[in-house]
Each structure stands twice: as structure tokens, then as C-alpha cells.
């Protein structure tokens, strides 16, 4: 392999990682607040369409990006409504959200299949892009990739260095304790779910605005599920999510490259690669959690448990 090829592969890995990282961080925020959201796949699909259509109609990629984010937040708001107000089962509601989101985006998007958008184009960051190796890999990307560089730091800061994050974590661990401290766990959860939805929406927007530049069905392609698995792999830590997302982005880029080279390996096997990795990664993280025996689980204690009204 030539150095150029390696650099191209790594740059592709970063691009592949970007939407997954957005979605993983979004899911993490939601789970930290105690709400399991299995609707990420649907949220990404629908927000990808929302971003595409707004960008297509207005010609503004930035407006498209916000449209994707807000579509994600709204859709997750629906999940919050079902779980928090009607005390619906989080797993069922999340699965329904996935089916709903994927289905609706396919339905609405059918007339636009193959229609292109301008979206975000790659540009080189002055100075930084001239760094050896790192420059071409990290700093000749599009604006959304630069945005994703900030996301893990922002999520970490929010969770660990702000009073809002402290309340959010307390709500995910023990809503009763948060309520006893005078906080409103319901509101905090709704915030966590919807802010997480916004990030998932950005992940979806990336797919239609920066990844393909044209609309096609099935854009999300299982990335939402990978994000759900990566939250577990990352032990609910933003820093580790970066590693996980890069791993998956790398495998996806590698798989595409292999297909392009025209190997003898059947393409369906190659396409399977990222999801096989998901399974392996989950086994690995479960084994590691057992090995470490920290005496506590990394998962928020009240994850998936709805807050029952008192009485």
C-alpha cells in the first residue's frame, strides 16, 4: 500500500466516523439521563431527509444542518412524550420510532431519489492542513467533520463540568435523589433525550449533506444501531466513543475500498463487516466489564426505567 492510499483510507475513516460519532454522543446523552432510545436509526433516516429537503429547497447547507438537528430533537421529543407522560416502554417506543422514521423518510424521499444537493464541500484549513500525515487526514474535510471534532469535548464538558450535566447524570442514576435535591427529573430527562436527538439529527444530516450529496433510500444503513452498541462499548464516556466511531469508520472505509478494488470476496460479506465488528465489540466490552470488576456497572443505574409518578 502506498502512503497516498493509506492517507486516503484514513481520511475516509474520519468521514465514516463522523455521523456515527454524532449519533453515539446523542444516544449517550439520552442514556445518561436514563432514557434508552432505540430509535436512533429512524431518527437519523428522517433527519437526513429533513436536512436534504431543506437544503434542496433553500440552497443553504447550514439551514439544512439545523433542519436535520431539529428534526432529530422533535422526533426524540415524541419518544420522551411516550416514555415520560404515558409511561410507555422505552424499548418498544424506540423500536417504533426506528420503523416510523425509516419508513417515513423512504416514503417522503421517493420522488427525490437521485436528486443532488450542494451540501458541505471539503476545504483545507490553512496551516493545519500542511501538517504531515495529520493535515490531509484531519484538516482537508468538510465543515461538519470539523464540527464533530468539537462534539465529544462539548458533551464531556456538559456532563462533567456543568450543573446541568450533574443533574442529568443524577436523573439517569437515581431520579428520586434528583427530585429530593429540588431538581425536576422529568424536565432533565426530556432535555437529555431531545438534546441527544439533536446530535443524532446532525449525524443524519451529515449523511445527506456531506457524505453522499444526493438523496437515496436507506441512507442511514444501520449506523443508528452501531451508535447504540458503541455507547456500551464506550462505557458511556465521550472520549471512548471517539475511538469506537473511528474503528467503525475505518472498517467501513476499508470495506468500500476493497469493493472498489474489485476483490474476489463477495460484497455482501464485506458489507457485513461493520456489523460483525459490532457483535465482537459488544462481547469484548462485556468481558472487559466483567474483568475489571469495578463493583459497579458503567451503565446509568436508572437506564430504561421510567419515573413513576408518586402516589
Amino acid at each position: 500500500m502506498s502512503p497516498e492510499l493509506i492517507i486516503a483510507l484514513l481520511a475516509a475513516a474520519v468521514q465514516g466516523a463522523a455521523p456515527i460519532l454524532f449519533a453515539t454522543l446523542g444516544e449517550m446523552l439520552s442514556e445518561k439521563a436514563g432514557v434508552l432510545n432505540l430509535g436512533v436509526e429512524g431518527v437519523m433516516a428522517l433527519s437526513a431527509f429533513a436536512a436534504f429537503i431543506v437544503c434542496h429547497l433553500t440552497g443553504s447547507a447550514v439551514l439544512g444542518l439545523f433542519a436535520g438537528g431539529f428534526a432529530g430533537a422533535l422526533l426524540c421529543g415524541l419518544h420522551a412524550l411516550v416514555c415520560q407522560v404515558f409511561l410507555g416502554n422505552q424499548v418498544v417506543s424506540g423500536l417504533a420510532l426506528t420503523i416510523f422514521g425509516v419508513g417515513l423518510s423512504d416514503f417522503l424521499g421517493t420522488p427525490y431519489v437521485g436528486v443532488g444537493t450542494e451540501g458541505f464541500r471539503q476545504f483545507a484549513v490553512p496551516l493545519l492542513s500542511h501538517l504531515p500525515m495529520l493535515g490531509p487526514v484531519l484538516f482537508r474535510q468538510d465543515a461538519m467533520v470539523y464540527l464533530v471534532y468539537c462534539a465529544p469535548v462539548a458533551v464531556w464538558f456538559l456532563l462533567n463540568r456543568t450543573s446541568l450535566g450533574l443533574g442529568l447524570r443524577a436523573t439517569g442514576e437515581m431520579p428520586a435523589a434528583a427530585a429530593a435535591a429540588g431538581l425536576n427529573p422529568q424536565r432533565l430527562r426530556a432535555f437529555g433525550v431531545m438534546a441527544g436527538g439533536f446530535l443524532c439529527g446532525l449525524g443524519g444530516a451529515y449523511l445527506s449533506l456531506a457524505h453522499t450529496h444526493l438523496w437515496s433510500t436507506g441512507l442511514s444503513g444501520g449506523r443508528g444501531w452501531v451508535a447504540v452498541a458503541l455507547v456500551i462499548f464506550a462505557f458511556w464516556r465521550p472520549g471512548r466513543a471517539v475511538i469506537g466511531a473511528l474503528l467503525f469508520g475505518g472498517v467501513m472505509a476499508f470495506q468500500l475500498r476493497l469493493q472498489a478494488e474489485g476483490t474476489n470476496v463477495p460484497s455482501s460479506l464485506l458489507l457485513m463487516l461493520p456489523y460483525a465488528l459490532t457483535v465482537i465489540v459488544l462481547v469484548f466490552s462485556a468481558a472487559r466489564a466483567k474483568y475489571l470488576k469495578t463493583g459497579h456497572s458503567a451503565a446509568p443505574a436508572a437506564l430504561g426505567v421510567n419515573i413513576e409518578p408518586e402516589g
Binding site: N160, R161, T162, S163, L164, G165, L166, G167, R169, A170, E173, M174, A176, A177, A178, A179, A180, A181, G182, L183, G295, H296, P300, A301
Partner: protein, 507 residues
């Protein structure tokens, strides 16, 4: 006692109570949980609220903490009438609670737990948070590492975190619900020291307990709560003997007039000889058919361990237990569902029934062998039987499709009793069978237990002396796992001494 005496005058001079309860009443359905309670909580004083389980202590404290609103009467804070709509308002008024079950986030640090909701700014500064909490802990003599994760702390340390939460919020009144229940003796001692430090700094301390010794060693003032009423209030220095306290706590006034026909005693159904083990120390007694034997004592003196052995939940460590003429091991190896042992646990909503099962399924919990045809259950017959029990015992609502949680405590208890009687036991163990029940349900349960004597011997474990003396033929008084006395209820001289025996005094 010198400490208490030197400070008894505080109440006498012109100090406004921090909190005053005036005729506070609270009902749950037909049960009067609190009945016209008036109390003053003074700064710099430690007040003990003494009472048995179900006496209404927790209800009273829940009203102070803003979780319930009184039906009658009112609460005053610093002389002004208040009405707490939520726990938040009570906290804002300076009233803080330390519950038995801690409200702590295990995956967060001590400092984070203390400052949760009180961070004072959007951006957190962990080092400053730890320093603040560390200083506060030091000021009140509560040694703790502010950076430690709560999940790794002992129960005593967790309790200190709870106290720090209140101190950080500058609560003036600190209420403790059975604070030593989860502590080791050493931890309890250091808690007492901390409580005295806080009291010396002007905080008002209220602690709920049923342990006589700790009440006497810690409190400045003692209020006794029984069946929802204040039975008496004293300064600790006035208390002459713990037995007086014990007698007042469990009471003995007869509230119901129950006809108690004599029943001929039959064969021995339970024989306990020199039983020892965790919480039990050389316990011996026997029980015959036609007899009710009451085990009385302040809760936590070995009654629970005794019941667990008799009902087959734990193996006797040493000594012998014979049930229906068989050894313990043999009896529980081949136990019949019918005609043998029935148990009415204290926890009727948790241990005796399943909340979300209907009454037919709850009937089958202990009687399924009676409805089994090979691998199949005769559900139709079970439904008919459940209907019969509901009718015969007047369980409301009279619908067998109702789930256990939908029944009131009294009705659920009547159903459990009906189910256990359906098993036609020859030995019946009833644990606190009327705790928290209203008068009519209590009477119904008592009648059934008396009727059960015709075919069974009844072991009645109760904290209510009235109940024991109304129903029982003989009484066993327990203290710290030992039998302090075993005598017939007709032995008036001994019955007079029950209070002393319960407090561990044999003189």
C-alpha cells in the same frame, strides 16, 4: 445525664420553637394514622420520637417533610403557619429529612451528591466543590473524603453524606428516621457524637426510633407515639426507668371487647428447645392445639429470626425445633400444603401476596398443590374457592379479578388469613396480623385467630401488648434474642412486669 440537665432550662426561657405542630391529623381511608398531634421542636435540642412500627411516626415525619399534607391541624415554622405543597418547600423552610433508604447517587462522588441542585453556577469546579464539602464536614465532625464515590462507602459514611446535604442547605431542623437501623454499633456511636455537635450548634434534631437504650442515651426530650397519638412527652432527665418507657410505648388499654371462649388444649404442635443462632439465644417454649401463644417484645429483639426458623426459612443453628411431632428437618422435607403449617407474614403486600396478581392467583401461591391434576391446574375450582374466601371473610371489593395492590391493607389481610385458613393448618404463625389495620378489620382478624384455635395452635408475634393480652393464653417476652419471661396472661403480677421485661430488666 448531666448534659441533659444543664440544658433543660432552654425550653423554659423565651425561645420560639423552630417548628410547632398543632393538632395535626392524617387519615388514610379508614385508618387514623395521626390523631391530633401537637409537638414543639426547639433549637439546640434532641427530641426522640418513640413508637412501635405502625404507630404513625413515619406519617408524621412525612408531613413535616412536605410529602403529605395534614387533613386537620397545621404546622408552624418560626411562629408562622405554613403549608408545604412539596418536599422542596419543606427544605426551603429549613426542614431536612434523613430517610432510612438513602437518596444518594452511587455513581457520583460525595461532593457531587452534597452539591446536587445547589451548585451555585453553571460551570462546576470540582476542586472547589470538594474543598467546600470537606470544610463543612470538618465543622460538624463528620469525617469523610469528599472525592470518594458514594458506591464504595459504608452505610455509616453514606448517612454522613445525607447529613451533609442537609447541613449544606442550612436546614435548621434535622429529622432522622431510625438512623441506627443500618449502622454498626461503632458507627452509631459516632453518629451520636455528630448529632450532639449539631445540636450544640443550635440545630434542632428529631430522631425516630423504637430502641429504648439509644433514646435514653441521646435525647433531651422524648415523645411517645402510639396508635397515632402522643401518649406522653417527657424530658429525658425525668425518666425513672426504661420499663416505664417500654410500657407506655406498647400500651395495654383494651380497645375492643372480644368474646374469648375457652377451648380445650390438645396435642403439642410446636416444641422449641434451647434454640440459638443469629439473633437468638437459648429460646425454649412449646405450643399446643387450642392455644394462642403471644411473642411480645420491642421489634428487632429476635422475633423475626424465630419466625424464620419456625416457618422453615432458616435452619436452626443449635437446639431443637419439633413441629407437629416431627423434627425440623423431617417436617420441612415432606411438608404437606394442607393440615400442617400456615404463615401470615408481617409484610402482607410483599411476602404474603404478589401485587400484580389477581386474588385467584394469589390464592394459588400457597395452595396450588390442592388444585393440581398432574401437570395441570384446576383454575375453575380455584376461582370458586377464591370466591368462597372472599364471601366468607367479607373481602372488599368482592371481586376475585382484583389485583392484590387494589385491596386496602385490611381487606388484603382478611384474604391472606382466609387463604391460610383454607389450608386447615394445625400450626399457625401470625406476625403483626393487625398492624396498620382499622378497628373493624382488626376485630375480624382477631375473631378468626380465636376460631383457628379449634383446630390449631397459634403463634402470635406482636408488638402490640393489647393484642397479645386480648388473644393469648400465654405470653413470651423477648429481649435481645432471649426469653425474658413465659407466663399465662392470667398471672397478673407477671403481666404487670411485661414493660420491664421488654426493656431487659429482670430485677
Amino acid at each position: 445525664m448531666t448534659r441533659a440537665q444543664s440544658r433543660t432550662d432552654i425550653g423554659a426561657v423565651d425561645v420560639l420553637p423552630l417548628v410547632r405542630l398543632a393538632g395535626v391529623t392524617k387519615r388514610f381511608g379508614q385508618v387514623l394514622a395521626n390523631d391530633g398531634i401537637s409537638l414543639s421542636i426547639m433549637p439546640g435540642r434532641i427530641k426522640a420520637l418513640l413508637g412501635e412500627n405502625g404507630a404513625g411516626k413515619s406519617t408524621l415525619m412525612a408531613m413535616l417533610a412536605g410529602r403529605f399534607q395534614p387533613d386537620d391541624g397545621h404546622i408552624e415554622v418560626a411562629g408562622e403557619r405554613v403549608r408545604f405543597a412539596s418536599p422542596r418547600e419543606a427544605i426551603a423552610a429549613g426542614i431536612g429529612m434523613v430517610y432510612q433508604h438513602f437518596m444518594l447517587v452511587e455513581n457520583m462522588t460525595v461532593a457531587e451528591n452534597v452539591l446536587l441542585g445547589q451548585e451555585g453556577g453553571f460551570v462546576l469546579h470540582p476542586a472547589a466543590m470538594r474543598r467546600k464539602v470537606g470544610e463543612l464536614a470538618e465543622r460538624f465532625g463528620l469525617g469523610i473524603d469528599p472525592g470518594a464515590r458514594v458506591g464504595g462507602l459504608s452505610m455509616g459514611e453514606r448517612q454522613r453524606v445525607e447529613i451533609l446535604k442537609l447541613l449544606y442547605r442550612e436546614s435548621q431542623v434535622l429529622i432522622f428516621d431510625e438512623p441506627t437501623a443500618v449502622l454498626t454499633p461503632v458507627e452509631a456511636e459516632s453518629l451520636f457524637t455528630a448529632l450532639r455537635t449539631m445540636s450544640a450548634q443550635g440545630k434542632a434534631i428529631v430522631f425516630i426510633s423504637h430502641k429504648l437504650e439509644e433514646v435514653l442515651s441521646l435525647a433531651d426530650e422524648i415523645a411517645i407515639l402510639r396508635r397515632g397519638r402522643i401518649e406522653g412527652e417527657f424530658l429525658a432527665s425525668e425518666i425513672e426507668s426504661p420499663s416505664e418507657l417500654a410500657r407506655r410505648m406498647v400500651g395495654r388499654d383494651v380497645v375492643l371487647d372480644i368474646k374469648r371462649e375457652a377451648v380445650v388444649h390438645g396435642r403439642q404442635v410446636l416444641d422449641v428447645r434451647h434454640l440459638s443462632g443469629p439473633g437468638l439465644d437459648d429460646v425454649s417454649f412449646d405450643l399446643k392445639r387450642g392455644e394462642i401463644l403471644a411473642i411480645v417484645g420491642v421489634a428487632g429483639n429476635g422475633q423475626q429470626q424465630l419466625v424464620e426458623v419456625v416457618c422453615g426459612l432458616s435452619r436452626p443453628d443449635s437446639g431443637e425445633v419439633d413441629i407437629l411431632g416431627q423434627s425440623w428437618a423431617k417436617f420441612f422435607q415432606s411438608r404437606d400444603w394442607k393440615g400442617a403449617l400456615a404463615w401470615i407474614p408481617e409484610d402482607r403486600a410483599g411476602l404474603a401476596t404478589c401485587r400484580t396478581l389477581n386474588l385467584t392467583d394469589n390464592l394459588l401461591l400457597t395452595t396450588r398443590q390442592g388444585f393440581a391434576q398432574g401437570q395441570w391446574l384446576e383454575r375453575a375450582r380455584a376461582r370458586e374457592t377464591a370466591k368462597g374466601i372472599v364471601r366468607e371473610h367479607n373481602v372488599q371489593p368482592g371481586n376475585i379479578e382484583a389485583q392484590a395492590w387494589q385491596l386496602s391493607g385490611g381487606n388484603l389481610q382478611k384474604f391472606v388469613l382466609g387463604r391460610e385458613l383454607y389450608r386447615e393448618p394445625r400450626l399457625m404463625v401470625a406476625e403483626q396480623p393487625t398492624q396498620g389495620l382499622d378497628v373493624s378489620a382488626t376485630e375480624a382478624v382477631w375473631q378468626r385467630l380465636l376460631e383457628a384455635r379449634k383446630t390449631a395452635g397459634v403463634l402470635l408475634v406482636t408488638g402490640d401488648l393489647t393484642e397479645a393480652l386480648t388473644l393469648a393464653d400465654r405470653v413470651v417476652v423477648m429481649f435481645r434474642g432471649r426469653v425474658m419471661g413465659l407466663f399465662p396472661v392470667t398471672d397478673t403480677a407477671q403481666v404487670e412486669r411485661i414493660g420491664s421485661l421488654m426493656a431487659g430488666l429482670k430485677e
